[in-house]
């Protein structure tokens, strides 16, 4: 299974990023081949709708699950249209979370926050 995790740096000893849409990178990890790669999150610097774009990038990467501390409403809306499962991380360690997922110990993320698009404007 291919999983995606928002991370602070593009290395396996990076910690899980507290933001989803604004994470600088996404780790893509394949639990079967144990191969990993890092996806530049082009949404990180966008003015608005970062979660939407980040979610689009992850869907395009072919990930089947996401492990993240949180997820905005809009991103959740994008992901809802797919079969991707959203899991809540247990701590900041990439490896701990991958292990926990393999052992089926991660909970589904139910804390979807309403986003910060109030300062939008036309």
């Amino acid at each position: 299974m291919k999983i995606a995790i928002p991370v602070d740096n593009n290395s396996m000893d990076s910690s899980v990023c507290i933001s989803f849409g604004r994470a600088p990178y996404f780790l893509l990890y394949d639990t079967e081949t144990e191969g990993s790669s890092f996806l530049d999150n082009s949404a990180a610097t966008s003015q608005g709708g970062a979660g939407i774009k980040a979610a689009q990038n992850i869907v395009d990467s072919g990930a089947e699950a996401i492990i993240t501390p949180r997820c905005g409403e809009n991103a959740a809306e994008v992901l809802k249209a797919t079969e991707i499962k959203l899991y809540k991380n247990i701590n900041n360690s990439i490896w701990d979370n991958i292990e926990a997922l393999k052992e089926g110990k991660l909970n589904l993320l139910d804390d979807i926050h309403p986003g910060f698009h109030r300062h939008g404007g036309n």
């Binding site: 979610a55 869907v59 809306e77 939008g120 404007g121």
Partner: protein, 285 residues
């Protein structure tokens, strides 16, 4: 002349000042741009109400024509579009109705649909034409409603009083864009100074001529007044803190219509504003 009335937060007396100035003027237009919570009409109680919807355009892709090329998704700088599972998803609250995706779609698959986001209500209250904008609950931004309010008022040749939303964010910026003069309402507390500073920064950024009205004044120390003196900000007038005014205001009455004393107070304020505004425009050229 267009006068925008501003304050850093709600409850400072912005609506009190704008409705009373409008009522004191000979013929005026009052525009309530506080579209999240318009309350000027509660004081002016306009008659012959007319309602008009405000709609924005939302893109809609025809799935039969769309090839999934994602030109539109990449184009939209607001990230209002996603292409998931052979379908284009539009995030209506994120979309700014710029029409760009429509133009750039190579398949001409996108058309526009109207979506109503609010209402403009207008009526007459004696010498004042009252126009209020009301945005629908759940909308992210009232800017399109404010834009329409002010666009419609451009043809007015009477004095226009714009009751702005509180704060200094984009809805306020939109409300003062067209104004000839900005009137900042401040409370005589430390907290009031903080709120005043917010709008003070804003009007300076927009390079608008402005002055301050000190509201709820007592015979004691007034930090807002000190702030104005320190920064050489014109004080246009002081509104006393008195029980009678407070009672009239909380009963939804307009003091300048009820009592000659208050009519004089607001007429004087209006004259000062006019003089200041003329002076400012003259020194600009």
């Amino acid at each position: 002349m267009k006068i925008a009335v501003l304050s850093g937060k709600g409850g400072t007396g912005k609506t009190l000042v704008s409705v009373n100035l409008a009522a004191a003027a000979e013929a005026a237009v009052y525009i309530d741009c506080d579209v999240e919570e318009p309350n000027g009409h509660l004081f002016l109680k306009p008659q012959d109400i007319k309602n008009e919807g405000v709609a924005v355009k939302l893109p809609h892709a025809d799935p039969k024509l769309c090839t999934g090329c994602r030109t539109c998704v990449d184009f939209c700088k607001f990230n209002a579009l996603a292409y998931i599972k052979d379908r284009l998803i539009v995030f209506s609250e994120v979309c700014h109705s710029c029409g760009g995706c429509l133009l750039f779609c190579p398949q001409k698959a996108i058309s526009e649909k109207e979506r109503e986001i609010g209402l403009i209500q207008s009526g007459i209250s004696g010498n004042v034409r009252v126009v209020s904008g009301m945005m629908n609950i759940g909308e992210a931004s009232g800017v399109p409603v404010i834009k329409k309010l002010l666009r419609d008022s451009r043809k007015e040749n009477k004095d226009v009083f714009i009751d702005c939303p509180p704060g200094s964010a984009c809805m306020v910026m939109e409300s003062i864009k067209d104004a000839d003069y900005c009137l900042l309402v401040a409370e005589p507390t430390i907290f009031g100074v903080h709120n005043l500073e917010m709008v003070y920064e804003l009007v300076r950024l927009f390079q608008k001529p402005f002055g301050v009205v000190l509201n709820k004044c007592l015979e004691e120390e007034n930090p807002a007044e000190d702030f104005c003196l320190q920064n050489q900000i014109t004080i246009l007038g002081k509104i006393p803190f008195d029980l009678k005014l407070g009672t009239m205001n909380s009963n939804g009455q307009i003091a300048s219509r009820k009592h000659p004393k208050y009519k004089d107070l607001f007429l004087n304020l209006l004259e000062t504003v006019r003089k200041e505004a003329r002076h400012e425009t003259a020194s600009d050229t």
